[in-house]
């Protein structure tokens, strides 16, 4: 993984020399056409996660605040915008983009964020608008998104100065779907008791399905990983040594505290067996038809976990709790990510009423450590685990 990601960033940073174009794209955006056009996709959000994991978030967030951005703004956006001006962070800043692709299926912040980036680098920006799915995805909405996918292809052909190769697009589509299936297989391995992996492992292995789906190396990587999980199950190896409690995580990871959290839960023999976040990159697989990839992709990208109503979210959550046979839910109320955190109290109540398992809510932020108070979080986790154990 480290090797693939290092090569990926080296290639992206030397794209100019190798005559390739670089596009910045949102984490939930349709990357497949970029791969088919031989463009290197770069993810400011993945970069934000790296900044958070390397504990460089506070400095960069403060820098953004000095520039005039509100401390209420998403910490990925703040860290990334600040990073562009100082070429700081763990990899010395992202390679400059030739153009930008912004899909608002994950939030509304990306619209303004990408507009800022477009102005800063003076590059073209393509916006893919995916309407929020309140209940059903209407025909009108479907037509609207499909039409934009066609415009997206035209935009790519224009900025790249070449036509899209439909055979290549089909190949990329096939690889993307295969990678998503394999990613799901990796995640599914945690249904086994005891689980061969935890959500903290999923947070780590996630990078490729986000950044490089549609490539052969991603497929190979997840194939090997899924096989490894099967081997672990066959050998009776569990990630948490004496797994007693199975928990589901909701929202983005707290990148700078994953190790502490992982050890904390493990000390209670609790395994985070699944999470709504990493599952999002294969969660809409059932909506994709490989034979009609571009059109069905449009629908699939619109139906991701945080672009749907609470009623639909609870359906997904309920299935996940049943599938992984979870004893409790841990929700990260993420100060940065409003669309993900909004409604968590309602979801917690619904889970308690419908399934009867308890929820722990942790208030924090994915990158900005100033929003994390360890002793308060620790007391909440301790009390929650005491409740689960039934003192």
């Amino acid at each position: 993984m480290k090797e693939i990601m290092t090569n990926y960033y080296i290639n992206a940073k030397t794209a100019r020399e190798s005559g390739k174009k670089v596009a910045w794209i949102t984490s939930g955006g349709p990357v497949e056409p970029l791969i088919a056009m031989d463009v290197i996709p770069v993810y400011p959000e993945n970069h934000g996660a790296m900044i958070g994991a390397s504990k460089m978030g506070v400095d960069l967030c403060e820098k953004a605040e000095e520039m005039g951005y509100s401390s209420d703004l998403c910490s990925y956006a703040r860290a990334d915008i600040a990073c562009a001006t100082v070429n700081g962070g763990p990899i010395g800043g992202l390679p400059e983009p030739d153009f930008l692709v912004c899909c608002n299926n994950i939030c509304g912040t990306v619209l303004k964020w990408y507009e800022v980036v477009a102005r800063y680098y003076d590059v073209p920006l393509f916006i893919l608008d995916t309407p929020f799915v309140h209940g059903e995805f209407t025909d009108a909405a479907k037509k609207y998104v499909i039409r934009q996918i066609n415009e997206y292809i035209e935009f790519l052909e224009h900025v790249c100065g070449k036509k899209i190769d439909s055979d290549r697009m089909e190949e990329v589509a096939r690889l993307s779907v295969e990678a998503q299936r394999l990613w799901q297989r990796v995640l599914d391995s945690a249904t086994h008791k005891p689980s061969p992996m935890t959500a903290f492992d999923a947070f780590f292995h996630l990078a490729l399905i986000v950044t490089l789906r549609g490539t052969r190396e991603t497929v190979d990587y997840y194939k090997a990983l899924a096989d490894e999980m099967d081997e672990r199950i066959a050998a009776g190896i569990s990630m948490v040594p004496n797994e007693k409690y199975r928990l589901i995580w909701d929202n983005l990871p707290i990148w700078y505290k994953t190790r502490w959290l992982s050890e904390k839960f493990a000390s209670y023999d609790a395994c985070l067996v699944a999470d709504t976040y990493t599952a999002a990159w294969s969660g809409v697989l059932h909506l994709i038809d490989e034979g009609n990839f571009l059109e069905t992709m449009a629908v699939a990208y619109s139906n991701v976990y945080i672009n749907i109503s609470l009623d639909m979210m609870i359906g997904t959550l309920e299935k996940m709790i049943e599938k992984y046979d979870a004893d409790g839910l841990v929700m990260h109320s993420n100060r940065s990510c409003k669309p993900y955190s909004f409604g968590q109290y309602d979801l917690a109540r619904m889970v308690s009423e419908k399934i009867g398992i308890p929820t722990l809510i942790i208030e924090a932020d994915m990158v900005d450590e100033r929003s994390f108070s360890q002793s308060q979080v620790e007391t909440r986790i301790d009390a929650f685990m005491e409740t689960l154990k039934g003192y």
């Binding site: 929003s371 108070s373 002793s375 007391t379 009390a383 005491e386 409740t387 003192y391």
Partner: protein, 255 residues
């Protein structure tokens, strides 16, 4: 069997000793800078009060924010679980506990055995806690113990709009300079604390009967304000401030 509970809070350290389901004694001291020393100090002082030696105590449970610094304790359990057990011990009918301590406030829903069903705590903000009232008492130059009496004399409680302790303090100062009566400001402060806590209580879902514990429960002005907000009767534990320590001692006896 003799067991003890030590509750190290942000402002005070509490200790309780239980013998076969009966309270032998309790004690409250200030925590001060050294949480570790405070636990030992309050425990030793209590043992002296009730004429017992440390080796007569069979099991000790520590709780509160400083729970992990009490090195002579046999086990540490969070204040959520301990408060639930303490309130259940004082009154087994209680189903909902509102605990307002020095730096945090929490609401706990329990079942008929004292087991925690759900809980919520304040986060990253001291508004709605004992410390909030302490800071305001200083600004008003009134002893905190007089808050309840003065509050009764209020004719028109002031509106305290700020949700932040530091900003609320400057709000109080401007109210004072405008000539607002102390009694009204104090009543307004109690209302402000009550609204924050009632929002948290509603989130968990209030079950009756409700009991209030923690140092702030000694202030009847705050208790009445909460009763009005939640539209229900709230009993105050006679052992409000040492409730967590009592719960810890009870849990210690079950080990």
């Amino acid at each position: 069997m003799l067991t003890a509970g030590i509750d190290i809070g942000s402002i005070t350290a509490k200790a309780a000793v239980i013998e076969d389901g009966h309270i032998k004694g309790t004690r409250v001291d200030f925590t001060g800078y050294n949480a570790k020393g405070a636990g030992k100090r309050v425990f030793d002082a209590l043992l002296k009060d009730i004429g017992l030696a440390a080796d007569e105590i069979e099991f000790i449970v520590a709780t509160g924010y400083g729970r992990n610094s009490v090195d002579f304790a046999d086990k540490s359990i969070t204040e959520i679980t301990c408060h639930a057990m303490g309130a259940h011990f004082i009154d087994p009918k209680v189903r909902f506990i509102i605990d307002v301590g020095g730096q945090d406030s929490k609401v706990i829903k329990i079942d008929g055995t004292g087991k925690v069903l759900d809980f919520a705590m304040n986060d990253k903000c001291a508004a709605g806690t004992g410390r909030f009232l302490e800071v305001m008492a200083r600004a008003l130059e009134v002893d905190l113990d007089r808050f309840a009496d003065l509050c009764e004399k209020a004719d028109k409680p002031s509106k305290i709009s700020s949700t932040c302790t530091v900003f609320a303090e400057s709000e109080i100062i401007s109210l004072i300079s405008r000539g607002e009566k102390r009694e009204n400001i104090i009543a307004g402060l109690h209302d402000s604390v009550a609204s924050r806590i009632s929002a948290m209580a509603r989130r968990v879902g209030v079950e009756r009967p409700v009991m209030m514990t923690g140092g702030v429960a000694k202030n009847m002005g705050a208790v009445f304000a909460l009763e009005r907000k939640l539209e229900c009767k709230i009993s105050v534990s006679p052992y409000a401030q040492v409730n967590g320590a009592i719960g810890a001692a009870i849990l210690a006896s079950r080990k």
